[in-house]
């Protein structure tokens, strides 16, 4: 068993593990090492099995075959508690917060600092939470309940929770999906420090610039199988993508040029106290308008108010000249508007229902008008859209909750695309979606615009904004501060407007 050339022994080794769910082989014979003091990226398309690996390391799932070797000895985690006790902290892909409890308590749950008589030391709880947030450079009120936090803030709380556990192995499953650039940088600084202190890090992301910035080694997975493990410097991004997808990818942003038609969506003087004000803009048929800006600048709130999910205090929304009733998503949908929300788990899907049911949900009124739902029609429609988005699933009748994170996103997209909207509002269209499908989502949006749909897109990804938008509206602190046409939109001009004085300083 002696090795010829013994490098440092890995902190944890994944050895030939497999895991199936019914007929789906989620992970099949995967092996790779995690070294102390090293950040290790795990990449692969949606449904490749990344989160399943995470859950085996976290004690949520037991491997069907194969072993996990910790410090040279095989371990068998029977529960998340055991993995935690072994020094493994996990940021899961889905938020796992307790909505009724305070942010601080969410962070320390299960390991509350204790004082006199074994009682919880409230001051210490508070101080620990605030200390973690200041390390991450964010300010979140630690006493407020977790219910109602924005997605970005939820993700920050998850990160703080994992950092607070003082782990030897920190696993992060797409922790950055909802974060802005500044927050990602902060996270990476903190992660870098942990790594230098000797912790092992496992990092999952669909953004390659993050992977190359943080990680020293990368493991590629495809269809549940291990493809390769290499030092990051030995691998170009193109090669990584080729191994993930198993083929060469075509150009990333195939935007079609479309001559815009009549104005379809008109928003005037929209305001909500303390959130945004003076929001006026319009979108023409065939046009793609991007709403850009930093996370927290009020973009998602604006589109939610336009669609009527949230109330508004002032202003009007017109669709083809007809005024929409405020605060009524039903009216907006009836008029031909669709919104793909930012928070897809909470607002977009019914986890226990089947894929086909979820895809057809917004239209079940229309489909059922004949008196009953046609199972066949429902299935055909669901298959068409999920296939266009390359969704990976076992059967259409499976519960949406069993899909991988990215595939759930695709189902939400499919669901709204299937409504055949005249105005499509998409909040972060490609969040959590793999490279291969990103291009497909963009192609679809572009094709819809070409068919005369007015598209309004909120996006934090600059390449997406620059590649897709005919016009870019930039929000800062609840107001639209600039409008930049496609020809003048560059990384610099958009970022400058979004940051305002901060960038000038």
């Amino acid at each position: 068993m002696m090795r010829q050339n013994p490098g440092p022994a890995p902190l944890l080794e994944v050895r030939d593990v497999s895991k199936s769910f019914g007929a789906v082989a989620a992970v099949a014979g995967v092996s790779f090492p995690l070294y102390a003091g090293e950040a290790h990226a795990l990449v692969g398309e949606n449904g490749a099995g990344k989160s399943t690996i995470v859950k085996m390391l976290a004690g949520v799932h037991r491997p069907d075959t194969g072993t996990l070797v910790l410090d040279g000895a095989p371990v068998d985690f029977g529960s998340p508690a055991e993995a935690r006790a072994a020094g493994i902290a996990v940021i899961y892909q889905e938020p796992t917060l307790f909505p009724d409890l305070s942010v601080a308590e969410n962070i320390v749950m299960g390991r509350h600092p204790r004082g006199r008589l074994g009682m919880i030391d409230r001051a210490a709880v508070r101080a620990e939470a605030e200390g973690l947030f200041s390390r991450l450079g964010v300010r979140i009120d630690v006493e407020r309940p977790a219910r109602g936090l924005s997605i970005a803030d939820q993700q920050i709380v998850e990160i703080a929770k994992a950092l607070g556990a003082d782990a030897r192995l920190l696993i992060m499953d797409e922790p950055t999906a909802a974060l802005s650039l500044v927050e990602v940088e902060r996270l990476f600084t903190v992660a870098g420090t942990l790594r230098e202190e000797g912790a092992a890090i496992m990092f999952i992301s669909h953004r390659f610039e993050e992977i190359t910035a943080l990680c020293q080694r990368v493991t590629v997975m495809r269809d549940g199988r291990h493809v390769s493990t290499d030092p990051i410097d030995d691998l170009t991004v193109e090669e990584m993508v080729r191994r993930m997808v198993g083929r060469d990818l075509d150009a990333l942003f195939p935007k079609q040029e479309v001559e815009p038609g009549a104005v379809v969506l008109e928003v005037e003087g929209l305001a909500r106290q303390g959130v945004f004000r003076d929001i006026s803009f319009s979108v023409r048929a065939g046009e793609i308008v991007a709403l850009a800006g930093l996370v927290g600048s009020g973009r998602s709130e604006v589109v939610q108010a336009v669609f009527g999910v949230d109330e508004r205090d002032a202003g009007s929304v017109r669709l083809k000249g007809k005024r929409l009733r405020a605060g009524s998503p039903r009216a907006a949908m009836a008029a031909g508007m669709a919104l793909v929300p930012e928070d897809r788990r909470q607002q977009g899907l019914l986890m226990d229902l089947s894929i086909e049911r979820n895809v057809n949900l917004p239209r079940s009124g229309a489909l059922a008008r004949l008196g009953f739902l046609f199972g066949g029609g429902e299935r055909r429609e669901a298959r068409r859209w999920t296939e266009r988005l390359r969704t990976r699933y076992g059967r259409l009748s499976d519960a949406v909750g069993t899909l991988s994170g990215g595939n759930q996103q695709k189902v939400v997209l499919a669901k709204w695309l299937a409504t055949d909207p005249r105005v499509l509002i998409v909040d972060e269209p490609t969040r959590g979606i793999d490279v291969g499908t990103k291009a497909e989502v963009h192609r679809l949006m572009s094709a819809l615009a070409a068919e005369g749909v007015a598209v309004l897109m909120v996006s934090s990804e600059l390449p997406e904004v620059l590649g897709m938008a005919d016009r870019v509206l930039i929000m800062r602190e609840g107001r639209i501060v600039a409008e930049i046409p496609r020809a003048e939109a560059t990384e610099d001009s958009v970022m400058f407007a979004a940051m305002g004085q901060e960038a000038a300083a």
Binding site: A81, G274, E311
Partner: protein
Amino acid sequence: MNATKAATPRRRMAAPQAIFSTVFKARESGIVLALILLIAFTATRNSRFLSAQSIRDILLGTAILAVLAVGQAIVMITRNIDLSVGSVLGLSAFAVGSLLRDNQGVPVIVALLAGLVLGGACGVLNGVLVRFGQVPALGTLYALRGVNYLWAGGQQINADRLPESFLDFGNQAILGVPWLVLIGLVVLAVATIVLRGYRAGRELYAMGSSPQAAELAGIKVSRNTIAAFLVSGALAGLAGVLFAARFGTIDAAAGTGYELNVVAAAVVGGVAVFGGSGTVWGASLGALLLTVIGSCLAVLDINQFWQQAIVGALILLAIGADRLVASRVARALRKRDSHV
């Protein structure tokens, strides 16, 4: 290092908290208001309602119901429900009654402990069945009641067969506070401290707030669930002893239908049906309200049937109010910026 932070004005963070304490106060002050109106109205109709005897009856009744409601609140916080409490109360009352009838020398404290242990055992059984057996909560209600009927048959234990000291315990006071009320207050205080100040208590809230997240956070969900049922069962057993001491007359039907009142007390007192929030103090206040309502109806000579109907209506009202408040709060929280 928090110098800058401390200097930051807290104006934005005040909002959600203010909403929370308002909601909290709204519930408690609503109950207090209802109590005042109810008592005032009944007192003007019948002056005997405010006699010392009547007030004592209300307090003793509240004490027993509150002990049950505290246990129920603990279970409901974990997103479960214990429908066996009435049956456990009946079983414990009859068992302890028989024990005392046959052994007149047994001290009160032993009787109380016997009730706690018997109830706790029933609670563990209940918890295991609910957690691992997928037995509907109603199952144990009928099973335990059935045991009680088999055992007691048509028997009735009467006050004249019970030791004097035991009956005194049920009806006398120490320093002006009836023993039963004292016990109720101790139970309430201990439960409050554990739920607010100890890891175990906070884990119960976490489990009710998100069962999946609790599992992922390494909380021992099964163990805690069974523990919650154990406490609820033990308190129901204790309540059975208090019941026996207060009434002296026990048959196989003792405590029948109590579970509805207990759930109502908890829900009216602000314990969420879907777990994760509520306090034992609120549940006890709910117990007081329900006892006063029962007493008013009796004084006003209103049909027993109405009492059931009113309890049912109160539950629905409380759940409806919870839903409404929850969605308001959620909206308000979403509106505010979370950053301080």
